[in-house]
């Protein structure tokens, strides 16, 4: 075996007060071979980013400090390096890409200045040489027209472009090790695929090692050689990619796979990991996962499991420790849960609960002395869909496509420019104020960010009661109290939550409070705006299960707005794919996902890193980026990125055509007119 390029031993980084530190990284060991891609997988708050910052000694001082450990990089212990010596390593031998491309670049320096600066720092290049090298780098990360882009400021670039610049910046000095901290989390799926492919290609060309930090099993499946799973400040399992995906060993790893929503799990409840990640400011006597583990027994409470290393893998669990484990414990149903009889979905024939017809939301852009309207943001530009009682319609699209605006327009939270929303055959948008306020109760919304959706100054009881007070002001205090208690029970929160404040709850629990608030007014339709995308995988499953069971119990309808195709496959009955303010494809979930017609839908499916146990697959990246909704391209909005573009696409917007039963698509590939023209 070759000498590892990086060997980390027993690294510990603590935060906060000396007496009661937060042990963000608590004894982490791993090693990376040259040219290898090593994934550090874990949920938020498990200490994976802090591990990366510790490697470069960039832990924010004085709050954070490295307590102990050895970081052996190419034969040198970095922790013995002085700050001046570290500076020769940073950016030169070890470079790092950060999660948020929007803020990671200096806004007042040009792209060129920021890259050239690095070159001058480490390679003592003169300006001309550095400029040449920078142009080459920008070209290497496939930034079009690097000669003009080099003088751009970060705000003139899109998110994907910024991340490319960031990659160019890190590659400038040809580092031996690249640390990529959630490099694509802030990006859309199609852009994510582009960036991941780029890193993979560059790695192949330069032979550098990559430490990829991520929470996304899909990314791990596609891109890495070796996987380490982190939990609560420790590594609980390492294995090669194949071994990890074919036979995850630690109960936590197993659970992660089980909690992943996929189409195969339709109609059954997802495996969940109960509870949430423990706080790291306490001292653990036993296993850190014990409270959430299905296999836990007394030994797990009594003693912390030791690291059990074998050749190229290892696990930290009593189950695999022959000294502790009882033979019987090794056998329980580790196999993935067998699909139970999946419930059949009968399509309803009665009138749909909600009908949206040709909905348009245009935000005016005002300029000049008298705030004259000089243009519009065509956020939503003619969307029609129907939601039946008890059905879930998923609205899928990349950020900026207008999907959230559709949800808000249905709730009349934004003013619609044209089109109708009929709720139970009543024109919802045109009701007078009083009636509308009464009808507010019928349609409710759940937001993406569990931290901003609850007023931090109100107790959970007050939050839930708010809707009751408006919609049912006649309730007596006792009845009101009773209802709140019922609602809390409905969403699986304890009774005492009533007098507590949102900050005392975890993200998943907050999302439950949000659901309870919405349910308080007995809605028939819930608009769920990415309700799980801010949550960790293990918690996401809890919320999805809850939404599903509520639908079964209360007959709710959902408009489920998301970018996550895995969730769509698991939960939705119908899918609407949205691109730049318009629906491009609409149909029931089986036909859309199995036989996607629109090139955009196909691209989305191809770009999503699908968790797949078979083997590596190259992500099919879609070229280009989503155009601005201020000036959508003429003709079909998608023609600028479409791999199957035809002349007609550049001039005419395709009308929706009905393909299979209930499956509509807006694409010239399927329109008779276009076909005739091409003949």
């Amino acid at each position: 075996m070759t000498q590892p390029i990086l060997q980390v031993d027993d690294l510990a980084t603590y935060f906060g007060h000396v007496d009661k530190p937060v042990r963000a990284v608590d004894g982490v060991s791993f090693s990376i071979a040259p040219g290898q891609t090593f994934a550090l997988l874990g949920e938020s708050g498990c200490g994976k980013s802090m591990t990366a910052l510790s490697l470069l000694q960039l832990v924010p001082a004085p709050a954070g400090r490295i307590i102990r450990g050895r970081i052996n990089f190419m034969g040198q212990d970095l922790l013995r390096y002085s700050e001046a010596q570290m500076r020769t390593v940073r950016g030169n031998e070890i470079a790092m890409i950060f999660q948020e491309p929007m803020t990671a670049l200096n806004p007042v320096l040009t792209v060129g200045q920021q890259i050239i600066e690095t070159l001058q720092q480490h390679k003592q290049m003169d300006y001309a040489a550095a400029l040449q090298r920078t142009l080459a780098l920008l070209d290497a990360v496939r930034i079009p027209a690097p000669k003009s882009r080099i003088h751009d400021y970060p705000h003139q670039l899109s998110g994907g472009m910024k991340q490319r610049v960031m990659i160019a910046l890190t590659l400038a000095c040809e580092p031996k090790l690249l640390i990529a901290d959630e490099p694509t989390t802030a990006l859309d799926v199609t852009i994510q695929a582009q960036v991941l492919n780029l890193i993979k290609d560059l790695q192949r060309d330069t032979g550098m090692a990559v430490l990829l930090i991520t929470h996304d099993l899909g990314i791990v499946a596609d891109n890495v050689d070796q996987v380490a799973v982190m939990y609560a400040g420790q590594i609980v399992e390492t294995a090669s990619r194949d071994a990890f995906f074919s036979n995850p060993r630690h109960p936590y790893s197993k659970k992660l796979f089980a909690a992943l929503p996929t189409r195969h799990k339709r109609g059954q409840t997802l495996e969940i990991i109960k509870g949430s990640v423990p706080r790291l400011n306490r001292i653990f006597s036993g296993c850190r996962f014990v409270d959430r583990c299905d296999f836990a027994w007394q030994a797990c409470h009594d003693a912390a499991p030791l690291w059990l290393a074998e050749a190229d893998k290892g696990v930290r669990c009593h189950l695999y420790d022959p000294k502790v484990a009882k033979a019987a414990e090794l056998n329980p149903a580790i196999a993935s849960p067998t699909p139970s009889a999946s419930a059949t979905f009968t399509s309803t024939t009665e009138a749909p609960l909600l009908r949206v017809h040709d909905l348009k939301v245009h935000f005016p852009i005002r300029k000049g002395l008298f705030k004259k309207t000089v243009g519009h943001v065509f956020a939503v530009d003619g969307v029609s869909l129907e939601i039946g009682t008890g059905r879930t319609v998923a609205l899928v699209g990349e950020s900026g496509c207008g999907k959230t605006t559709v949800g808000k327009a249905i709730l009349q939270l934004v003013t619609t420019s044209a089109g109708q929303v009929h709720y139970a055959d009543m024109p919802y948008g045109q009701l007078d104020k009083a009636t509308q306020r009464r009808f507010r109760g019928e349609v409710q919304i759940i937001f993406q960010d569990p931290y901003s959706s609850l007023n931090p100054r109100m107790q959970v009881g007050e939050i839930i009661a708010e809707g009751l007070d408006v919609q049912e002001p006649t309730l007596t205090p006792a009845q009101r109290q009773q209802r709140i208690a019922e609602l809390l029970a409905h969403v699986g929160l304890p009774d005492e939550a009533i007098s507590r404040y949102p900050h005392e709850f975890s993200g998943g629990q907050r999302q439950r409070v949000s659901i309870a608030r919405a349910l308080a007014v007995n809605p028939k339709l819930l608009v769920c705006d990415e309700p799980t995308s801010a949550l960790d995988l293990s918690v996401q499953a809890q919320i999805l299960n809850l939404l599903k069971s509520l639908q079964d119990k209360l007959g709710l309808s959902y408009l489920f707005i998301t970018h996550n195709l895995l969730v769509v496959e698991y939960l939705a009955h119908e899918v609407a794919v949205m691109y730049l303010g318009r629906l491009v494809e609409y149909g029931n979930v089986e036909s859309v996902l199995n036989q996607p017609l629109h090139p955009y839908t196909r691209a989305l499916l191809a770009a999503a890193p699908v968790f797949d146990q078979q083997g590596k697959q190259q992500l099919h990246a879609l070229e280009g980026e989503i155009p601005s909704p201020i000036a959508p391209p003429a003709g079909c909005h998608f023609h600028t990125r479409c791999p199957q573009v035809m002349p007609i696409c550049r001039t005419h917007y395709p009308i929706a055509t009905r393909q299979a039963e209930g499956h509509r698509v807006s694409c010239h590939l399927y329109s008779d007119v276009a076909r005739q023209q091409t003949k």
């Binding site: 906060g16 007060h17 306020r437 507010r440 109760g441 901003s452 959706s453 007023n455 809707g467 949000s514």
Partner: protein, 504 residues
């Protein structure tokens, strides 16, 4: 958690306010005084009641208590708070005004009162007020500053420094005895302080132990090891310092003029203590006056946007574009004219200078509300886009309810920070304005007026430096304490700053 019977939070402040009112009535009846309610006194009363209710409210809300706990945990903040409290107490007892009864007129049987309006503070420090010398004298002096023609017993006249009427009269040879006498007095003060301090601290520890159901010894050790939220060790030490200052001032001013006397022989310590009320009142009332406008308008502009926003923005841009001093000058000049033209209405000197003080507070409030209003508008613009407001709108909650239940509680920390920050700036502003001649009335005791006269006194030969020093020391302590305290409040309440200061 122990399940106590939960009384409504309005109960105890109401009881407290009631007890205070009854106490006052009893005092009036017992001492036969004629209460005088100046406008500023009424405003102070209003402010005190408001603060009492506010504290009661804060105690019910955990999210409000938590940052305060952090403030009280800071040692510097607690030291500052203790000094501020001393100032506040002096300002409060100096705001209780009345006229003392004269000897009863036996003929008419009608109660008659002195024309001079006194405050409770005046009564407490009556000796200070009454011991008036001829003219200037230095601190701890026994002789006047300037030579006078003295008549000796033999009828001969000689020019020499006169002995003071009150300062150092007990000394036979002041030149040699003053130092030892002062030292002796300080030692006496130290001893008395020690006794009071021990009793006070013991009682406090006992009370704390009793309140939290702990043993006396346990609590004592906890405090000594600084394991309590409030740093009691530091608090007790500060009490000691404050007690020592107060007792030594009391003991020393029985024999001396600690800060000397001014031109007409008034005790400078008395004058600077009386100035406390002016400073504190301006620091608090000016903010109180502006607060409702700033909060309401700022929130409305940010929440409703459109034409309402345009109008409110126009108003505050216009007001803030006028240089503050000039606006105050313009307003005060007009009011001066107004008071001069309506002289008959304000017969009492106190009433007429009080009116000017109140007007100054109002006008200072008007010039300083625009900054807060702008801040609140910006914050409301942000808050109204946050999901929980959207959720409330989706539930059909009315605008008023959204403003009062969602927006207001989430901008309160900004209001609080502004109030605390403004305090020290206003105290400093008072001095400047009084110097310019657009501050408080000449007859009102204020540090600004003291500095104004001190400037010329410093040019005298020998220089009269003690009024300036006295004003400087008292003002500096108050402003420094207020600044330190407001720093702590800002750190605790501003989430952005908390991140910056690097604490987790």
């Amino acid at each position: 958690m122990t399940q106590k019977i939960q009384r409504h939070w309005l109960v105890w402040p109401t009881v407290l306010a009631g007890v205070m009112a009854i106490l006052w009535l009893v005092v009036i009846a017992m001492y036969q005084v004629d209460p005088v309610y100046l406008i500023s006194d009424k405003l102070v009363t209003l402010l005190v009641i408001f603060v009492i209710y506010l504290i009661a409210y804060i105690r019910t809300k955990e999210h409000l208590r938590a940052p305060w706990r952090e403030v009280f945990h800071r040692k510097l903040a607690m030291i500052a708070l203790i000094f501020i409290s001393v100032y506040l107490v002096i300002a409060l007892i100096d705001s209780i005004h009345f006229r003392l009864p004269l000897q009863k007129n036996t003929v008419t049987e009608q109660a008659q009162y002195e024309t001079r309006v006194l405050s409770l503070f005046d009564v407490l420090v009556m000796p200070l007020r009454k011991r008036v010398e001829h003219s200037y004298s230095a601190p701890f002096a026994s002789y006047g500053l300037a030579k006078e023609t003295l008549e000796l017993a033999a009828g001969r006249e000689v020019r020499d420094y006169p002995r003071l009427r009150y300062g150092g009269t007990h000394l036979s040879d002041p030149n040699s005895q003053t130092l030892t006498d002062v030292a002796r007095s300080l030692a006496k003060a130290g001893l008395i302080t020690l006794v009071i301090w021990i009793v006070l601290v013991a009682a406090s520890i006992y009370l704390l132990a009793w309140q939290q159901g702990q043993g006396w010894n346990e609590k004592r050790q906890q405090i000594w090891r600084e394991q309590t939220i409030v740093p009691w060790r530091v608090v007790f030490a500060t009490w000691g310092v404050v007690l020592f200052i107060i007792t030594s001032l009391i003991i020393l001013s029985a024999d001396y003029h600690v800060f000397g006397t001014d031109k007409v022989g008034q005790d400078v310590l008395y004058l600077s203590l009386k100035s406390i009320r002016t400073g504190v009142l301006i620091g608090t009332l000016a903010t109180l006056v502006m607060l409702p406008f700033a909060v309401l308008l700022g929130m409305m502009a940010g929440y409703f946007r459109g034409i309402i926003d345009d109008i409110i923005q126009y108003i505050y841009t216009t007001l803030s574009s006028i240089p503050g001093v000039l606006l105050i000058a313009a307003a005060i000049l007009s009011i001066q004219l107004y008071i001069a033209a309506h002289k008959d209405t304000y017969t009492l000197v106190e009433k007429h200078s009080d009116l000017r003080l109140v007007f100054l507070c109002i006008i200072l409030g008007i010039t300083s509300w625009t900054g807060l209003c702008r801040l609140l508008r910006g914050e409301t613009l942000k808050i109204r886009e946050i999901d929980y407001i959207q959720a409330a709108t989706a539930l059909g909650v009315s605008h008023f309810r959204i403003l009062s239940r969602h927006v207001l509680p989430n901008v309160m920390h900004i209001v609080l920070i502004a109030v605390v920050l403004d305090f020290s700036a206003l105290v400093l502003a008072e001095a400047v304005l009084s110097y310019v001649g657009i501050g408080v009335d000449q007859s009102t005791n204020s540090w600004g007026n003291m500095i104004n006269t001190a400037r010329l006194e410093l040019a005298r030969e020998p220089a009269v430096w003690w009024p300036l020093l006295s004003a400087f020391v008292l003002m500096f302590i108050l402003v420094l304490a207020a600044n330190l305290f407001s720093d702590a409040v800002r750190d605790a309440f501003d989430p952005k700053l908390r991140r910056l200061s690097g604490r987790v």
